[in-house]
Symmetry: C2
Subunit: 461 residues, 2 copies
């Protein structure tokens, strides 16, 4: 943190003093991820100076680290020849990411500015959905034919070195471009130069189809500790690779998306950051859920209206009403969170539904009865101090028992609803994270009101 503040200040000083050599010295020493962070904190004038002094060539790496929301406005500060240079200097997966995320007009302009050599590959990558393995892959990777010797393979790799995103894994293909195996540089370095590649490559155990979901790719990285995952088509032709840093990014994105859906937010998270997201976008992502939930919540109010008579006869019931209702929301929220997270991490597969139900049912009864007992004691011993006068024929123990029974019923219902709704959502091909805390809270609010008033009516009168 301290070091970063220092770097920002040094960059700002060098821009103000027009000290080019100081400026270039700092940006050459600073990682492009740090430069992207610093760039976002500059004012408009400083941003313009930063761009003109660093030049399109150097700025390409910085732009790939900027959040989506400000990429478009940043690109608009460049003239066409500079945009060409930037596009040329981006790795092909970053290039496609950027083109996918800008407005349609800018997208077409950028496609026109591509270098001839990049056109075909960029267009073919754009055909894959943004959230698929193909949409994430890069086509720059170490690739050698199976008929070469170690020496020939090393020569090819040395030349392709600067164009390959990583040489941590080198892939071996046959003359049809089909994937036959993989090598590590050390397999080449530790072997004799005249050994044929076909004698030393190993089989590729893990591959992914270009059309598969990016989340599936990320789960494979974390399960098998992969560093590179080759992407193939249905004919086993090697199309590209996904690297471990993409997997990190996918996992962060997907977790953020789940967390936000669970809190009732719509839309795509992508790489937007909180502060860089506009007020309108924040508004659009939150409002639809709020409106829907508000109408649902009126159902709770409608239930209350039906029990006007009961409440007017025994208004002390109001003291425990919010508690019984809220306890359902809280337990339902806990249950749904556990289940949704377990599904996201690939744990709950088909056939485990019954085990989940059995677990949550027992847990609901356990949590409900213990919480019910605590609240019965509170009712019996503490309520008389706040609200001493009950109508005739009604006693505090009776009230306590009603509260305890209602609480047990409400919590048991809620854990079941909370765990089953996300599983049901997945079966209906809806993202389970959408059926999370807010929706469940509002649903069990209604059931809680009904359970509470009916229990009270039966037990007390």
């Amino acid at each position: 943190m301290y070091k970063e503040t220092q770097t920002i200040r040094a960059i700002q000083d060098s821009l103000r003093d027009q000290d080019n050599s100081a400026f270039l010295k700092i940006i050459n020493q600073t990682h492009h991820a740090d430069l992207a962070e610093i760039f976002q904190n500059l004012n408009e004038l400083q941003k313009k100076l930063f761009i003109s002094k660093s030049g399109a060539n150097r700025f390409a790496k910085v732009i790939s680290e900027l959040p989506n929301t400000i990429i478009e406005e940043t690109l608009e500060k460049f003239n066409d020849p500079d945009l060409s240079i930037i596009l040329d200097n981006l790795s092909d997966d970053d290039r496609v990411d950027i083109i996918q995320d800008v407005s349609c007009a800018l997208k077409n302009k950028l496609l026109d500015l591509l270098e001839p050599k990049d056109i075909e590959i960029t267009k073919s990558l754009l055909n894959y959905g943004e959230d698929t393995a193909g949409g994430r892959m890069t086509t720059s990777f170490g690739n050698v034919g199976q008929n070469l010797t170690v020496k020939e393979a090393l020569d090819i790799l040395r030349e392709s070195q600067s164009n390959s995103e990583t040489l941590a894994r080198v892939y071996v293909t046959n003359s049809q471009g089909e994937l036959v195996g993989r090598l590590r540089i050390r397999d080449l370095a530790f072997n004799n130069w005249d050994t044929p590649v076909r004698e030393i490559y190993r089989p590729c155990k893990h591959t992914i189809l270009a059309t598969a979901d990016q989340e599936e790719a990320a789960l494979m990285f974390s399960k098998y500790d992969l560093i590179v995952l080759p992407v193939i088509d249905e004919q086993n032709k090697l199309l590209g690779i996904i690297t471990y840093d993409d997997a990190l990014e996918i996992i962060e994105e997907e977790s953020t998306e789940d967390i936000e859906r669970m809190a009732g937010m719509t839309g795509d998270t992508s790489e937007q950051t909180y502060l860089n997201t506009t007020l309108t976008t924040h508004f659009k992502r939150r409002f639809p859920w709020l409106l829907g939930l508000a109408f649902l919540a009126i159902a709770s109010g409608f239930v209350m209206l039906q029990f006007e008579q009961l409440l007017s006869e025994l208004f002390i019931l109001a003291l425990f009403l919010p508690m019984v209702v809220a306890a359902g929301g809280n337990t339902g929220g806990q249950a749904s969170t556990m289940v949704i997270r377990a599904m996201a991490l690939g744990e709950l597969n088909h056939g485990t539904t019954l085990r989940v139900v059995w677990k949550e049912l027992r847990l609901g009864i356990l949590l409900g009865s213990l919480l019910g007992a605590c609240m019965a004691l509170t009712t019996i011993f503490i309520t008389p101090l706040i609200y001493p006068d009950l109508p005739n024929s009604i006693s505090f123990p009776k009230l306590g028992i009603a509260v305890a029974i209602a609480l047990t019923a409400q919590i048991t219902t809620s854990t079941l609803v909370g765990s089953l709704l996300p599983i049901g959502a997945r079966k209906a091909k809806i993202d389970p994270a959408v059926i999370a805390a807010p929706a469940i809270t509002t649903i069990v609010d209604v059931s809680g009101m009904i359970i509470y008033f009916i229990t009270a009516k039966i037990i007390i009168f």
Copy 2:
């Protein structure tokens, strides 16, 4: 999925038929992460057979992939000599992870069973906290002195190959063991054998102190796209490395922990999975929050009691009460989720509090007034159909305006509470995720009741 079910069945068949060669063939072909998953789904008898047939040597890799909750019971199935073999076959970071997570009795037993060569390194790694960079690192890495030639370096690395977790990065140290730089195998492979290492190594830009938090290490991996991060002490002495697969694991763990805290669950997540966690553990993690929140919710009931008079005069107010209260919980939950996640991803640093407040304040007013307008219209046009008879001198438009104003006030308050409480928590060194949706919902329930009844009283009467 399909393939996995097939493998499970094949393993079960070979165990039932006592067909050793078929069994060994399958487990040699299957990744240890898959074997760990399959093992968990076997019954007790099958588990025993699996262990005895695979042998301690092969089982070491499987055990490192099992969830913490079943590691202890699995280790107890082995005799002491086999435990020694397992410990010897684990990488040093996995060994320490396991020893840290078992009961005290088993921990002491395992420490006694360590091979003499592993004792010192294991005990020194155990000194670092489980959630620190030191607690995550491995001490098996490629390391060469700066005075060697390329040929000598390659010879050393070839020999240490099997003991190194990764050779993706090789670290160069001076005679005091201080980190001076790094190499990739390709730098050695692409250079002449007599080139001195000191001429080709590069500086190490990113390092982490052994005492730093593991989350800091994970953020560095994702920001700088690292593959290996060297861990040093305060004297710049190289102690070990953290690899990209640890970073993936840390990010998954920390996201799960945040998600669970946000839903009001206590305790440590670690590597436990939903189905493998016992009922008692689930209960213990959920109950404390539920109990605390239940007592807090009684405060809402207490507010209702104070407005008994108002409610009895104008019971239609009950129709909108749950809606106004819940809207606060929902917006507060959204705001806190956005802020907590932005903090977890390292976005909100000191000095951004005012920007967050300003954003959420405007957003709260915007969301509140628009939702208020929708609900005012609902009150004016739809309520008369449900509840036509209002007391004299009270009109539906008046009621609608009261609902709209209360809703705007409640939502604005809630977005502010929802965004400021997590920031305040962090300032007070409390995990912000703890002050998430459930706590905020319950707090703004109370404020919502007060706001609603007071607004209604002022506007309507």
